[in-house]
Homo-oligomer: 361 residues x 2
DNA sequence: CAACTCACCGCAATCGATTGCTGAGTGGGA
DNA sequence: TCCCACTCAGCAATCGATTGCGGTGAGTTG
């Protein structure tokens, strides 16, 4: 079938017809032709790992030809053959949540220099959508997954993990399996928050917990109970309300419930910043002065908190670093599949601002 | 995807060896074999556009075989052959800017149902990086580009556009070429802001303009001058300062310069919300009460502005809709290459909050 | 009954890069 | 002088899906 290539000879030049209006990008064969070698040789010369197999002079010629043509290997063709893609999937609930962009950037900043790219998908916390997205990622030959949507019970993730899919969880973990993860040290963070509040003189502290289907939600809630106990206070279950989502509206709803129950409290530790901001909405609704009557501590350290009214005291989480660390771990796992998988906890710190003060009276 | 794969016709099995630990995904040939037809026929049966070419019964058999195997076409192989990828490139400066996530979601929400996906890249406003990213997008066979990094002078974009690359600009436009774009009606927005301020009684209004290398920056600045004139005020060039970037720090720097110049003014129209928030930083530094001594209007309507101190009055831009509209336009252009390219302006609205008030005295 | 049409399906090439295998050529050692 | 080892480069298959072309069989018509 070499007949199909009238442009094979040295005269050639005809080659592939340049499409109107768009420049035909050179292929490996073009490079090979210009260098006067076979495509296979060109391929080996271009690939550093294979280069030792070709004569140094030949390699030079190929490299030069590639440079003059501005040759860029076609990643699609390469992926097809090698079943690799230099791409990792990044599964997050919703990019619109200010939590995620810094993580994404951290991931990309590590992936990029390593020659990898991230393919971002949103699941909106919808398991069906998540499944579809994961399927599509898999069919795109992603070499690994970074997942921010883990729930404690997450069979789909177990299955993938068992099938050998490389993955790293960020922000959250799963219950059963030993899937590597990168999370903040939530327990320590909550302890910091409670300690701060107790130090200010608060005795009746509420917790607006996040969804108990997520590790983050339960870990923080448990840490809250422990921290309360550690300070010699008695834990009052009625001061713990669970939010269905990590959102402002859920936070507002939870606080309203708490207020309406008329159990006294002077401070709240919110499951995250968004829940804390939901409290702000309720404060506005009901004319409750913060921090004068109720102090609030958030969690995460999202942007612009310093400009809120009042500036929100929060437990700061190094999201960018979560991203970089996760990406590094995933790359390690890809490079060396046998490697023992580990999970890391990143330190948090308390950022005291103006939403916390001594309790009134 | 069922784990057990009795699949693979009678003798078969030989074919591709199932990799350890991971289930071998079925290929078109597997489907064809199970259906007892040739791969070509299976391909046609699976593709709605080609289905009329095959017998209805055969098509049914193929569909059923595909279903039982859980067949998913390999998009890589398909892309290689068809030179299409069902993905579009999305070029933004920095995902971390709260402006972009809503746009991204808008884009994805339109692209998804159409079977397309978005490939997101950040350029950090670095032309070299941008060039590299665009190159990588092109090599991935993206079928079109949505670009949020346009500068007024942008030869790279001209070139791509001339080569027939389908693209839609969002948020910003370019000077020379007629590249379709989706932007907010910046001029009207600025007019709204100025009108509001003048209505409150302000006479000396400053403008902290965004970078004049971007259409957004110059359009808003020009609109500001016009709006001032339209209200019978005289435009004072010393009350216009240009920020180098669309950031808080740039905004703070600009305001400091303005303050230090000691030209009196009672209100500022900021180029965007971030610049406005930069003003807040300076207010804090210098104990300037806002809005009592200086009123501020932002631009964009980013999230959480209602919880700032003070809540920021701003010109709200429908970012999500910018995304959906841009995606629709791009899909149209892909479907019908001959179509006349248009540019759309989306309406803005003023959201009055507490950062603006009557001038003191 | 023969020739012709048409629907349907299979063959094989193709997209572009990678890689196992083979063969040509060279140099060295016995 | 002969043979072997070794380097290097080309051949062709392959990844999986798509598609132009050609062939087969059934049905139709003169």
């Amino acid at each position: 079938m070499s007949a199909a290539q009238p442009a094979d000879g040295p005269m050639a030049g005809g080659g592939a017809g340049a499409r109107i209006g768009s420049v035909q990008t050179p292929t490996l064969r073009d490079v090979a032709q210009l260098a006067g070698v076979h495509a296979a040789t060109a391929s080996r010369a271009l690939n550093p790992r294979m280069r030792p197999m070709v004569n140094a002079d030949t390699a030079r010629k190929v490299l030069r030809a590639a440079a003059t043509l501005g040759y860029q290997p076609n990643p699609i063709a390469r992926s097809l053959k090698t079943a690799k893609s230099a791409t990792v999937g990044l599964v997050i609930p919703d990019l619109t949540n200010p939590l995620f962009p810094p993580i994404v950037r951290g991931i990309e900043d590590v992936l990029g220099p390593a020659g990898y790219n991230a393919w971002i998908v949103n699941t909106d916390n919808d398991p069906d959508r998540e499944k579809a997205q994961l399927e599509s990622l898999r069919s795109r030959q992603v070499e690994g997954l970074i997942i921010a949507t883990a729930r404690l019970e997450h069979p789909l993730l177990y299955r993938l993990h068992e099938q050998g899919t490389k993955m790293v969880l960020v922000n959250r973990r799963v219950d059963a399996a030993e899937i590597p993860s990168v999370t903040a040290d939530d327990a320590a963070g909550v302890a910091l928050a409670v300690h701060h509040l107790v130090g200010l003189g608060h005795r009746r502290i509420a917790h607006l917990a996040g969804p108990q289907t997520t590790s983050t939600g339960v870990v923080r809630a448990r840490a809250f109970r422990h921290a309360i106990a550690d300070h010699g206070l008695t834990y009052d279950p009625s001061l713990m309300v669970t939010c269905d989502y990590w959102t402002e509206t859920a936070g507002a709803r939870a606080l309203r419930g708490l207020l309406d129950a008329r159990r006294p409290f002077t401070a709240v530790v919110a499951g995250n910043d968004l829940i804390a901001l939901g409290c702000y909405d309720v404060f506005a609704e009901r004319d409750i002065p913060c921090p004068d009557r109720i102090s609030v501590v958030g969690f995460n350290g999202m942007p612009f908190l310093d400009k809120m009214r009042p500036p929100l005291t929060t437990v700061s989480v190094p999201h960018y670093e979560i991203g970089t660390e996760a990406a590094r771990m995933l790359l390690d796992a890809i490079d060396d599949p046998g490697r023992h998988s580990r999970s890391v906890l990143l330190a948090t710190s308390l950022v005291v601002r103006r939403s916390t003060a001594r309790p009134a009276g």
